[in-house]
Amino acid sequence: MNRGVDLRRYFGFFPMTLLCLFILYAPLIIVTVYSLNDSRSITSWEGISLRWYAEIFTGPESEKFRKAAWNSLTIAVMAATTATIIATAAAIGMIRGGSFRGKSASFALISLPIMVPEIVTAVATLIFFSAIGFKLGTLSILVAHIVFCIPFAYMPINARLQGIDASYEEAAHDLYASRWQIFWHVMMPIMSPGIISGFLLAFIISLDDFIITNFVKGAGVETLPTAIFGSVKQGIKPNIMALSTLLLLLSILLVTASYFVGQRREKPVPTNQKPETEA
């Protein structure tokens, strides 16, 4: 029998995929396993315990980590929220703004933070803050994160909006809805999966950021990545592995969330969105 006709199958591609996944997951799994190691040394295995998890919350460095975690979380929430609002407005302006002069320039400007290497953004921001005398601290980190997160929030929102027919808005307009009502009752519900994905992506990016934060954080202010980096510089300790594992779990939680949002996105755009009408 001639079994070689499946042109979608190539010999060796499946093992390659498994290799790829192995490389991606091996380090994460190893760290998770070793975070449960009872030993004080990272090289020998002395049975399972949760002592390093306890250490994060009660150990000598716990105060530092708690502060850093609080900073990371508040900055990420605020940066992602602001970036998502700005990105949503921009996406509506770009997609529903018709064709206008400077459209591609606008697009280039919005995607600038992704095009410029992160370290260059970090340098430029530091120079700018110092030139205008902006005090480095939590606020400077927040501002830098907002700017950096905008394109990441923009992309999924833009993609979503592009897939929505403008006739929904026109229908609502025709039915006497004001712009604000159209936005609130028609566009928001349809766009929401894109907005949620955009927010989550921005949130993760902010939480993830090391380089820019490291440049603009000023003395004494730490976020989780900078705190971890500081500790790791002196060698990988078991409590860092426990902390990493916790962050890893948080990330997986967020992916799962965004996956389900994505599932919602697959469904056809609901056609029964009824705007409230008024006489």
């Binding site: 070689g4 006709v5 979608r8 199958r9 190539y10 591609f13 290799l19 490389i23 380090p27 994460l28 760290v31 990272i42 609002i85 700005i86 407005a89 921009a90 509506i92 302006g93 770009m94 529903r96 703004g97 018709g98 064709s99 400007l109 919005i110 600038l112 933070p113 095009m115 410029v116 290497p117 992160e118 260059v120 340098v123 430029a124 921001t125 530091l126 120079i127 030139a131 907002i146 700017v147 403008a166 006739s167 808005e169 026109e170 307009h173 993760i204 993830d208 090391f210 380089i211 440049f215 989780l224 990545p225 971890i228 980096f229 790791v232 990988i236 990493s244 990330s251 997986i252 992916v255």
Partner: protein, 306 residues
């Protein structure tokens, strides 16, 4: 004319009159906090350095001069090319290129494999590849360091199964940095290639097969050229961040594999800092990236004409 009815929509959208106000927050925040800073950085690269960080507002070419030329310890020797910084840049390009190649070699088959799965399982494979991207980059890099360090689990395992006698000394080598970069940005390679292969019309493969081409010839002559926009996109998405990467070279490479990111970072830390020099190095890095993006845009537009 009747044709206007159809085309009117895009122009006369409900929100078109508001577009300035909708776009303004984005323009202002990025323009004010990134575009102007980058321009200011360009200005800084032409200023004189202040010893404890910062600058003196006196125009000079000293930063670029220091980058490209060696004038001896006291600055009065005849001008010679300074290889120190150029070679750091060269190594960065080389390392980023190596990581890109590594990502391509593993990422292409992976992306192709996933894109040809039935719809049900496709999502799961895709999720598996993207999950690590959501994990903090620092944590991933630290994990990699933990795994491949001299007496780490990987060496233990390889010694245990008898594949090697001495531990592999990977940490603080170029290879470790490439592995780290590869690990950092692999999903960026897989996703665009996946999207391109998913759009690829397999009737083309059938047509080639019908015209006497064997499978690997089809891959080389038809599939790869047709999905090449995705491949270019993947390469640029891996190459650009690799070029300016800081974490992988800093944590996995030693002094011998110093890269641009570390060089720039050093200029803004502590007393050895030199802001104009850091700004100049950043400008040079930015120019390299722009060159890469330019070639990318050209390749894409040529692909579009095809």
């Amino acid at each position: 004319m009747a044709a206007n009815i159809g085309t009117g929509r895009a122009v006369s959208s409900t929100f078109a009159p508001l577009r300035i106000w909708l776009l303004l927050p984005g323009w202002l925040s990025i323009g004010f906090f990134l575009l102007i800073p980058v321009l200011l950085m360009l200005v800084y690269s032409f200023l004189t350095k202040e010893f404890r960080g910062g600058v003196i507002w006196e125009p000079t070419l000293a930063a670029y001069d220091q980058f490209f030329f060696d004038r001896g310890l006291f600055g009065d020797d005849p001008r010679r090319i300074e290889w120190k910084y150029i070679s750091i840049f060269w190594r960065s390009i080389w390392q980023a290129g190596g990581a890109t190649l590594l990502c391509l070699i593993i990422g292409f088959p992976t992306a192709f494999f996933i894109a040809t799965r039935p719809d049900r399982t496709k999502v799961i494979w895709l999720l598996l590849v993207t999950v690590p991207y959501w994990v903090n980059l620092l944590i991933r890099t630290v994990s990699m360091k933990f795994l491949i360090r001299d007496n780490g689990p990987m060496n233990d395992f390889l010694q245990y199964i008898g594949l090697i006698n001495e531990p592999l000394q990977l940490i603080n080598t170029n290879i470790a940095v490439q592995i780290g970069l590869f690990y950092s940005y692999l999903p960026f390679m897989v996703l665009p290639i996946f999207a391109a292969v998913e759009r690829y019309n397999f009737t083309l493969s059938e047509a080639a097969s019908d015209l006497y081409a064997d499978k690997w010839t089809i891959l080389r002559r038809i599939v790869i050229p047709v999905v090449s926009p995705g491949i270019f996109a993947g390469c640029i998405l891996v190459f650009v961040p690799s070029l300016g990467a800081f974490l992988a070279p800093d944590l996995l490479g030693g002094a011998k594999s110093f890269m641009i990111g570390s060089l720039i970072e050093e200029q803004f830390k502590g007393n050895i800092g030199n802001w104009p020099f850091g700004a100049a190095s950043s400008m040079i890095l930015l120019s390299l990236v722009l060159v890469a993006l330019f070639f990318y845009a050209r390749a894409q537009s040529q692909g579009e004409r095809a």
